[in-house]
């Protein structure tokens, strides 16, 4: 759906996106990383199991919730990629209660 423009020197970090190792630009949001790596959707809703993806990219819609480093309900548009970060699509409410 989206691609990263090549703008000279690449400065990348490696993240694990839905189990796949991918290189993404340092400093971009997790949502940006997911969208530019062919993730058509990033979660399913707890109400009807419908697919959703980032919508507003500015932290107000809460549709970009993903599981980041095992933590559910993270706003992917307001979380920034780090070397080695594990990012997974969230199913419903996700593992909100499994990391107590």
């Amino acid at each position: 759906m989206f691609k990263q423009l090549s703008e000279g020197q690449a400065d990348n970090v490696e993240i694990i996106l839905n189990g796949q190792s991918v290189l993404v630009s340092r400093g971009i949001s997790v949502a940006a990383a997911a969208l530019s790596h062919q993730q058509r959707f990033t979660r399913t809703t707890p109400v009807s199991d419908s697919k959703r993806a980032p919508f507003c990219m500015m932290g107000v819609c809460y549709d970009c919730l993903m599981v980041i480093d095992g933590k559910a309900n993270q706003q992917a548009c307001a979380t920034y990629v780090q070397q080695g970060m594990r990012v997974d699509n969230q199913q419903g409410v996700g593992p909100a209660m499994e990391n107590g």
């Binding site: 990263q4 000279g8 058509r40 419908s50 993806a53 919508f55 990219m57 500015m58 819609c61």
Partner: protein, 464 residues
């Protein structure tokens, strides 16, 4: 970080930065709190770190942000990025979250410069992956250099749509179509406002320039489009609409929509500031005077969070609020405030020239604000459809808050940010009353969700 400041500024966009720059002098304790990792707000996002090549493509209005950021860096204001504000009350106590730790700061003066958000306008298919807000496309471009790779349809109403099309054109993105849903009758309605708009002719020239460039590039621009919808099996695959009486479809996995912007009022609402319905801007905004004072002593507003007037105006309004805060703190006297404010006030008024025209020209038709298609999802979080809201009204729940209690609309994690306006319009439409009478969802804190563990850290804070 102190736990008390003379001046706290919430938001690191043009208004917040300009307010801090003018106020953080002479030993005033002043801090800017911003949820973003970098300063500039949404409009000047990534302004300090952006590669020059990308900044150029984004245009000169964007690059103005560099000066604002530089001036701010030279001021004495403390700056706290990655700081989420989750509460503000009428005692000027500000709940913040940093690194999963909650705390409450207090201040003598608070300037809320919370900026704008895209006006959410529900239409069939707007929850499908691949349908996003135009602002989201711009943020991806500004902050990450990420653009559509398989074409995009742009739809909606307002100057941002043209600007984004122009920016995409320069980035080599295929814009499959620009669908303008502005009713053609708006154009005539806006004519009386045109003479005043001429006073801000640079905006008009810019807009016309974008249109010419897009036309030359052969981008299909369709005006007077209606019945917009996105369709697909679980994700967006095509965009449907009506144009010149004909039903049309464009295959596209990506649709970016824009229906103007509205003030982000969740903080001022939670503080209990008085808000008014602005008929021309079709939104709620906090009541304030020209210095930014709300009806709550010591809480000021500046920038688009106070009412939509654009980034340039925000800068001047920020300075006015900064001066007012200094005056309230006893640092400057009234005549100094007035003298230093003369030019800023003139600028703010000047920036208003174009607005009545734009507001009328790009007014969103009622049929879009209060959809008559019952299946359209209104509350994205709780997945409540328009028909359920209309039914609740027919069952006697005749204001937005009652509809919320009854249907759960607005009770999800976004706390009504995406559905509040649409619910007000639907309830008004169904009950035959005005949106103004319907009221707004009551602000329920926290303004941003907190985990139980994060909230519990506050207990230790207080105990210490």
């Amino acid at each position: 970080m102190k736990n008390h400041y003379q001046l706290l500024i919430i938001g690191g966009g043009p208004a917040g930065l300009a307010a801090a720059t003018i106020a953080a002098k002479d030993g005033i304790s002043c801090a800017v709190l911003d949820e973003q990792p970098t300063l500039g707000g949404q409009i000047y996002r990534a302004i300090e770190s952006i590669p020059e090549q990308r900044a150029k493509k984004l245009g000169s209005e964007y690059r103005r942000g560099k000066n604002i950021a530089e001036a701010f860096r030279l001021s004495d204001a403390e700056y706290y990025p990655n700081t989420k504000v989750w509460s503000l009350n009428n005692q000027r106590e500000v709940g913040i979250l940093q690194n999963d730790k909650a705390s409450i700061l207090s201040a003598d003066q608070v300037i809320v410069a919370s900026g704008a958000m895209e006006r959410p306008v529900p239409f069939p298919g707007w929850t499908l992956p691949g349908v996003m807000q135009a602002g989201a496309g711009q943020i991806l471009y500004k902050s990450a250099g990420i653009v559509p790779d398989n074409g995009v349809v742009l739809a909606g109403s307002g100057p941002l749509l043209l600007l984004l099309a122009w920016q995409y054109l320069h980035a080599g993105v295929e814009v499959k179509a620009l669908l303008d849903v502005t009713p053609l009758s708006n154009h005539i309605g806006a004519l009386p406002k045109f003479p005043r708009a001429l006073l801000a002719h640079h905006y008009l020239t810019k807009g016309i320039g974008y249109q010419i460039a897009l036309k030359r590039a052969g981008i299909p621009m369709l005006f007077g489009v209606s019945d917009l919808r996105a369709d697909g099996d679980g994700v967006c695959q095509s965009v449907g609409f009506k144009h010149s009486g004909k039903q049309k479809t464009i295959e596209s996995e990506l649709l970016l929509t824009h229906f103007g912007v509205i003030p982000h009022i969740w903080l001022t609402q939670s503080a209990g500031c008085k808000h008014q319905w602005d008929d021309s801007q079709q939104c709620w905004r906090p009541e304030h005077d020209e210095w930014g004072n709300t009806d709550i002593s010591g809480i000021l507003v500046a920038g688009d969070g106070a009412g939509i007037n654009g980034a340039r105006s925000a800068e001047h309004a920020g300075r006015l609020a900064g001066l007012e805060a200094l005056f309230a703190l006893g640092v400057i006297n009234q005549s100094e405030r007035d003298n230093r404010g003369v030019k800023e006030r003139k600028w703010v008024r000047g920036e208003r020239h174009i607005r009545p025209f734009l507001e009328k020209y790009y007014q969103i038709p009622k049929k879009l604000l209060a959809t008559d298609i019952d299946e359209t999802i209104i509350c994205r979080c709780e997945e409540i459809a328009a028909g359920e809201i209309r039914q609740a009204v027919r069952d006697g729940h005749d204001n937005t808050n009652q509809v919320k209690f009854f249907t759960r609309c607005g009770m999800g994690p976004c706390q009504g940010r995406q559905c509040s306006n649409a619910v007000a319009h639907l309830v008004a439409d169904e009950s035959g009353k005005s949106v103004k009478e319907m009221g707004h969802f009551r602000g329920r804190p926290p303004v941003a969700p907190l985990t139980l563990e994060q909230l519990a850290t506050l207990k230790q804070e207080v105990a210490e």
